[in-house]
Amino acid sequence: MSTFFFFVQLLNAIQYALILYLVASGLTLLLGIMGVINLAHGAFYMVGAYIAFAVVQQFGNFWLTLPAGILIGLALGALIEKFLLSRLEGADHLSQVLLSFGLILLINEGQRLIFGNDPHGVEVPKILAASIPLSNTLSYPVYRLFVCAVGIVFIIAIGLIMAKSRIGMMLRASAENRDMARAMGIDVKFVYLGVTAVGIACTVLAGVIAAPLASVYPGMGDQVLIQSFVVIVLGGIGSLSGALVGSLLLGLVDAFGKQFFPNYAAFLVYAAMIAVLIVRPQGLVRSRGT
């Protein structure tokens, strides 16, 4: 393997990691701050992809899909917190698992009724449709680099909000000790509403942005759900910086594993997870809500 292709694989690893981070952040927000296990995470990702498909088909403009995804995601998240999750406060994880499993069934069946079972494609917006030639055989799609850029902006933004802003402080306080936060005058109910809305909107948005890359088809969220869980278990449950570390590790193992040990590619990711669980059961980064 030449140095050139080593760096191409490194680029593959990093861009895959950034996509994974975008996708997993919503799950880790909900789990870290509210302790909610959301199995429907992959289904919300799929909702995002289908929103992108429907909006592009209806209006022929990809850029409209971003606000559409954010708005629908926020609304969906708020409704789910208000009418479903808030009723489970204090209940055990099994209830959450059942609830989110029910949501998966609902969303899958809804998708089938509205869009049918055929796979669909979403065109990459014209301005990003080009590819940058890397060698005489290989070029890199600009849209993938765009997704990387979105991922980086997202990491910086969420890091700043969490560490520096008043909202971030409230979030961390609510995550650390719900009752104490309440006693200090933080409206925990409102915080939860906001976190669920934002967390699910993140996931839906990730689906929207990934749609031109991933195409749009039934069950596309299943794989994403598993990968997201691997990412947050690797990185440390509920930690956003941990999710970043987890994503990078998973991206590296995936890209180079497929290059050097192609026969074990499927297994390597989980082997890495098991290794981390044995050595550092709390994940690579231990923290609460940051």
Binding site: S2, V8, D118, R144, Y217, G219, A265, A266
Partner: protein
């Protein structure tokens, strides 16, 4: 949903019984001994009516009924009634579902299925029970190789069939080296093996085999490896959403221009609308194309369009021919399924004028058929030429007893 289906069939079964009784009375009043068996023949469809393969099931089931209707609602003088079981493409439920059809519903013929894993469980029961089974899609080689049986017929393809001729096509284009890429699962591995056999036979060499964990769709790392090794061509097998993403990623990585992509027709069947520009110009091989333009195909496509307001596809053709094959068997024994040996013999010797072209059967009951080279043009899989005429599966390991 399944419950209502069964209720309806039960109700129509009651009606049928009533009708049969009435006919019996009439027969007694006006003695005409020619009516052999009044009870309708029970056809058991075991297909994935829900889930990813639902559209395949719909087209197989629909085109089967279309054929029967075109023949006036009867095959070999017998009217038909249908029992439907949704197998959900779920191998773990396959044995139960098949037993339901055979033991509880007492069907005369089983038509199914799409998914190869489910199929092999059905094959086992068909072999044990001796029930006539017609396979309208699943391509698992073994169903008409080591697991073949007199009562098992296939009207679709063995995985080997559409892939073997790809090597010859590549050699004709002057390609000497190739890499393969597919999901790491049974069908993918059978396809790659068939391609290697065909490519090796014309002196080509496979310089790399890539296997993507099933059902993962992150191809970037593999595409980089293809760009690094620079083969003359790539053989790929994916289907459904995976095929859409692979073909788009392949084009976006700039490989389409430098390393031409080939594969069995599933790479571009039912996916072209989603693949768009990225699929244009791809060459694939299959036993059907969108514009074969023979009279049977024309009539079939018009009939299908009228009945379902949708375009027929290769799966519909396979359903249509399943009914045609059953018709040949029933015709030969005048609708008397007890004469099983004679019936199977007639089916094995059947020469069907199929929408796909001439269709006959090899000793292991797998189709002998043309494999066509198709090119994607303006969102259609258009006919280029016959890649391999009258191709028969080798049927390795088949011992009919």
């Amino acid at each position: 949903m399944r419950k209502t289906d069964l209720l309806i069939t039960r109700r129509s079964a009651l009606k049928a019984v009533g009708g049969a009784a009435a006919t019996g009375l009439l027969v007694r009043a006006f003695p005409t001994p020619a009516i052999a068996q009044a009870a309708p023949l029970r056809i058991g469809f075991m297909l994935p009516y829900t889930g990813t393969y639902a559209s395949l099931a719909k087209n197989i089931d629909g085109a089967f009924r279309q054929y029967v209707e075109e023949k006036g609602g009867k095959l070999g003088g017998r009217s038909l009634e249908y029992v439907m079981v949704d197998d959900q493409a779920e191998p773990s439920k396959a044995t139960d579902n098949m037993n339901k059809l055979v033991d509880r519903d007492k069907v005369d013929v089983v038509v199914g299925t799409v998914h190869s894993g489910v199929q092999m469980a059905m094959v086992k029961i068909a072999r044990e029970s001796g029930k006539l089974m017609i396979i309208p899609n699943a391509g698992a080689d073994d169903a008409t190789r080591s697991a073949c049986a007199p009562n098992i017929f296939r009207t679709s393809f063995s995985n080997w069939q559409p892939c073997f001729p790809v090597g010859k096509v590549m050699a004709e284009k002057g390609h000497k080296t190739a890499m393969t890429i597919t999901w790491k699962y049974a069908a993918g591995e059978e396809d790659v093996r068939a391609f290697k056999e065909g490519f090796g036979a014309v002196g080509g060499s496979v310089i790399g085999e890539l296997y993507v964990p099933f059902p993962e769709v992150e191809f970037q790392s593999f595409l980089t490896q293809i760009a690094e090794k620079k083969p003359d061509a790539v053989f790929a097998f994916f289907a459904g959403g995976g095929a859409v993403k692979f073909v788009k990623d392949y084009a976006a990585a700039g490989l389409k221009k430098s390393v031409p992509l080939y594969g069995p027709g599933f790479l571009t069947d039912g996916t072209l609308q989603a693949q768009g520009e990225a699929a244009e110009g791809l060459l694939t091989t299959l036993h059907y194309a969108d514009d074969l333009d023979n009279p049977t195909d024309k009539k079939f496509r018009e009939g299908f369009k009228k009945k379902f307001n949708a375009d027929a596809d290769v799966y519909a053709v396979q359903g249509y021919d399943s009914a045609a094959l059953l018709g040949v068997g029933l015709e030969a024994v005048k609708g008397d399924m007890k004469a099983a040996d004679a019936m199977y013999k007639a089916m094995g010797a059947a020469k069907i004028d199929s929408p796909r072209g001439p269709l006959s059967f090899s000793a292991s009951h797998n189709p002998i058929q043309n494999i066509y080279l198709r090119e994607v043009k303006n969102g259609k899989n258009t006919f280029v030429k016959i890649a391999h005429a009258n191709l028969a599966d080798p049927g390795t390991g088949c011992k009919m007893s």
